[in-house]
C-alpha cells in the first residue's frame, strides 16, 4: 500500500511543478485540477474522508470554473 502513496505523491509533485512552470494560464489551471485530485486521494489515504469530499467538490468543480472566469475577464481587460 505504500506503493500507492509513492505513486500518488509522484503524480502530485509532477503536476504541481508543471503548473508552476507552465506559461499558459488555462493549461496551468487544468494542472491545478490534477493537483487537487491527488491531494484528495492523499486525504483519503490518511483517513479523512470528509476533508477529501470537500477537496473533491471544491477542487474539481469550483476552482477550475473560477480560474477560467478570471482568465477570461483579465484577457478582456488586457485587449
Amino acid at each position: 500500500m505504500i506503493i500507492v502513496d509513492i505513486l500518488i505523491c509522484l503524480v502530485l509533485l509532477a503536476a504541481g511543478v508543471g503548473a508552476m512552470l507552465q506559461r499558459n494560464l488555462v493549461a496551468s489551471s487544468v494542472l491545478v485540477g490534477v493537483v487537487s485530485l491527488m491531494v484528495s486521494i492523499l486525504f483519503l489515504r490518511i483517513g479523512a474522508p470528509d476533508v477529501a469530499m470537500t477537496e473533491a467538490a471544491i477542487g474539481a468543480g469550483l476552482s477550475t470554473v473560477i480560474f477560467l472566469i478570471a482568465v477570461r475577464r483579465t484577457e478582456e481587460e488586457e485587449q
Partner: protein
C-alpha cells in the same frame, strides 16, 4: 488469489496514471490536457473504491460519488471557454 488480482489491477491502474501524466505534462494543446485530466479522474475513481474496500469503510465511497458527480464541471467549463463563453 483475489488479493493478488487486486494488486495486479492496482499496478495496471497506476501505470495508466503515469501514462496519462506524461500526456498531461507534454500535451501540445489545451484540449489534450483536458482529455488527460478526464482520464486521470476516471482512473482515480476505481482506485478510491478499491481503497474503500481494502479499508472497509463505507464513507469512502461517498468521495468517489462526489467526484463522479462533479468531475465533469471542469471539462464543461473548459468547453465553454473555447466556445467564447464561460
Amino acid at each position: 488469489m483475489v488479493d493478488r488480482v487486486l494488486i495486479l489491477a492496482m499496478a495496471l491502474a497506476g501505470a495508466g496514471m503515469l501514462l496519462a501524466l506524461i500526456r498531461l505534462l507534454r500535451g501540445p494543446n489545451i484540449p489534450s490536457r483536458a482529455v488527460a485530466l478526464d482520464v486521470l479522474t476516471l482512473i482515480t475513481m476505481p482506485v478510491m473504491v478499491g481503497l474503500a474496500i481494502t479499508s472497509g469503510r463505507v464513507i469512502y465511497l461517498d468521495v468517489a460519488l462526489v467526484y463522479g458527480i462533479l468531475s465533469f464541471l471542469g471539462v464543461i467549463s473548459l468547453a465553454r471557454y473555447f466556445d467564447q463563453g464561460v
